[in-house]
């Protein structure tokens, strides 16, 4: 590597770390604040276990959205992919359950495998629209989000899929060694997988280049279309896993579950230091932002006098505040439109 490149690496390392430091400071402040005000209600093992079983739902979706945003796109259909997979897998579960409600040994692995395949297929459809049909990612995924939700409504007639075999919810809500929730393990596995992809494989390097400058990536011989399809497929798989966890957490599935997660995922990813224009961002920041958001929400819920409707006010303000902070702290405007 040339010295020039090493120098710029150092610089980007610094700016990237600034996002992470900011998150760490906010999180520490919140931890101290909660310790001072509601120590007994917040610092319990069960509270942390509950948080760890809840955040993988949207945490997984946010990981997928992060990958899309690194390529300069966005995935607004994650929640609808999650719901559609949860609904179809719910049907599958009901159909393979035996008469007494117990599941054959292969049921849960089969469900996860099929769910991930379904997520990949739906994600590939997004990828095709973005790459081959040249539809801007925002609109393509908005359209498919409406379409997938529509299909889910048609399948269920708008009702919830419930009365699932309890064995599924029990095994996902299980705690390994009585301590670690299964949902957390699924999240960790996926986060590790994406971390390896981004930092240890050429795929990672390629999508950063694609996000920085698609034209340059094309002239460097990258197959942009294939990369985009792959990225949206991984995002679809993440979303489907999130959907399967939602299915276990609520023990039911419905076309309109988790609609707040659309905004929340974008918020997490931007908060985690990923540039909405692509090419920049690290998974550590995003994971920190996921933890922070869950802790903030759980913390706020410990104050019964605050209406839960304020949460959407807080999320929106935090999102805008973070971007304005970036505007003032970075010498060059981080979000200025680069027009080719």
């Amino acid at each position: 590597m040339s010295t020039q490149q090493a120098g710029s690496n150092l610089k980007t390392l610094y700016t990237r770390n600034r996002h992470i430091w900011r998150l760490v400071i906010v999180m520490l402040a919140w931890i101290v604040f909660m310790a001072l005000t509601k120590f007994n209600k917040f610092y319990t093992l069960i509270n942390f276990q509950t948080m760890a079983s809840q955040f993988p739902e949207f945490g997984l979706m946010a990981l997928g959205v992060m990958l899309c945003m690194i390529t300069g796109g966005i995935d607004l259909s994650a929640v609808s992919i999650a719901n559609l997979s949860a609904i179809l897998m719910g049907f599958l579960l009901k159909s393979i359950a035996q008469a007494d409600g117990s599941l054959p040994f292969y049921a849960i692995p089969l469900m996860f495998a099929l769910g991930m395949v379904l997520g990949a297929v739906l994600g590939a459809f997004n990828g095709l629209l973005v790459s081959k049909a040249h539809i801007p990612p925002i609109l393509a995924t908005l359209g498919t989000s409406e379409l997938f939700t529509g299909i889910a409504i048609v399948f269920t007639n708008g009702n919830a899929v419930s009365k699932l075999p309890v064995q599924y919810a029990l095994s996902i809500n299980n705690k390994i060694g009585g301590l670690v929730p299964v949902q957390l393990l699924i999240f960790i596995a996926m986060a590790l997988f994406i971390w390896v992809l981004l930092s240890r494989t050429t795929y990672g390097t390629k999508i950063y280049l694609l996000g920085t400058n698609a034209e340059a990536a094309r002239f460097s011989g990258l197959k942009n279309d294939r990369l985009l399809i792959k990225t949206y497929m991984i995002s679809g798989v993440c979303a489907a896993l999130g959907g399967l966890i939602m299915l276990a957490n609520y023990n039911s599935a419905r076309a309109n579950y988790g609609s707040v997660y659309v905004l929340q995922c974008v918020l997490i990813v931007v908060l985690g230091g990923v540039s909405p224009l692509g090419g920049r961002g690290r998974i550590s920041g995003v994971v920190l932002a996921i933890f922070l958001l869950r802790m903030l929400e759980t913390g706020i819920n410990r104050f019964p006098q605050i209406s839960s409707y304020y949460i959407s006010l807080i999320w929106g303000s935090v999102l805008i505040l973070v971007m304005v902070l970036d505007y003032f702290t970075e010498r060059r405007h981080p979000f200025r439109k680069r027009r080719s």
Binding site: L319, I320, M323
Partner: protein
């Protein structure tokens, strides 16, 4: 740039004929009046969405903005026991709309932040203010002036066969006036041409001497005002204020505007095309019952329409680029 309106007009016409053949109820006076009346609120929203998209941005906050301003206006007037005409409510909601639009405009114009993410954020803020701070509930009664405005009609159309009647609300005039003003502004004013210039190429617009930051700011102010007017009219027409039932409309409106041939990357498109695209969506939504399609299919249809519409629009951009490239190459060749 090729004009898109003839195609979309033909599609609308074909759809109308199809529905007429299936149901025999489409080209009746009352059905056409119903569609015109259903077009008022989406049509107003579409004018705002169109201007934002032409400027190269996107706005997903207008339903939340309209819900908040119409709720705040109605609630305030109810609390003060207002009994006057429609003008004060219009002035109040326009002022509120301008204020909230300015909120969008500051971040998108002066801070150059991405429009999608800013408006996602502000729509969440507006919702939070309405449901959290204002503690919104459904208002079953609205001030008499607004009720009167909502129920007064230009004419009443009667179906000669079934005897069903439909009113054409006075509010339809608002749609015509706003469309007319927007048309004049976009075509003849410096500001309006500037909006196209920003969407075409922002750097060029700056170099040409247009103040893009101020231009974008005022654009979002105007769009906020149009959206708040639409919200107020919807409240008047429904005779009640339901705080959350406008939320989620943004997708269909944007789909309609893009279907009407507006380039999603900005810089190209026409107001008449946007209106035709919106009309197409309104007809599809209103005629599903006439066609005998269960309403659970609605989202599937809208989603498919968005994808097809944006796909066609993207394809046209691609073809336009290719044609200009070919022309340049042809000129180079003929020079040599």
């Amino acid at each position: 740039m090729r004009r898109n309106e003839p195609y979309i007009f033909l599609v609308v016409l074909a759809l109308c004929v199809l529905i007429e053949i299936r149901s025999g109820q489409f080209f009746t006076a009352n059905n056409l009046t119903d569609i015109a009346s259903a077009m008022i609120v989406p049509g107003l929203f579409a004018v705002g969405a169109f201007m934002v998209i032409v400027s190269g941005g996107i706005d997903v906050s207008f339903p939340a903005l309209a819900s908040l301003t119409s709720y705040a206006t109605t609630k305030y007037l109810l609390d003060t026991g207002y009994t006057g005409g429609i003008w004060l409510p219009i002035v109040i909601s326009l002022a509120l709309g301008a204020l909230l639009g300015a909120f969008n405009g500051i971040f998108i114009g002066y801070f150059s932040l991405p429009a999608l993410i800013v408006t996602l954020g502000t729509s969440s803020v507006f919702k939070g203010v309405m449901q959290g701070a204002l503690n919104s509930v459904q208002l079953a009664v609205i001030p008499p002036g607004m009720r009167e405005f909502g129920t007064s009609s230009l004419f009443v159309a009667t179906n000669s066969i079934s005897g069903l009647t439909s009113r054409m609300p006075v509010a339809f005039l608002a749609l015509l006036i706003v469309n007319g003003l927007a048309f004049l502004m976009l075509r003849y004013s410096y500001f309006g041409r500037g909006i196209y210039a920003i969407g075409g190429n922002e750097t060029s617009a700056v170099r040409a001497g247009f103040n893009t930051k101020r231009g974008k700011f005022f654009l979002y102010v105007i769009v906020g005002m149009i959206a708040s007017l639409a919200g107020l009219i919807r409240t008047c027409m429904m005779q009640q204020n339901h705080p959350t039932n406008m939320l989620g409309m943004e997708m269909n409106i944007i789909a309609g505007v893009v279907l009407g041939g507006t380039a999603i990357k900005g810089g190209a498109g026409s107001l008449s095309g946007a209106a035709l695209g919106t009309l197409l969506i309104v007809i599809v939504e209103n005629s599903m019952i006439l066609l005998g399609i269960p309403t659970i299919w609605k989202s599937v249809f809208t989603g498919a329409l968005i994808i097809i519409g944006t796909g066609v629009s993207a394809f046209q951009v691609l073809r336009a680029n290719r044609i200009t490239k070919n022309r340049i190459a042809w000129k180079e060749m003929s020079k040599a």
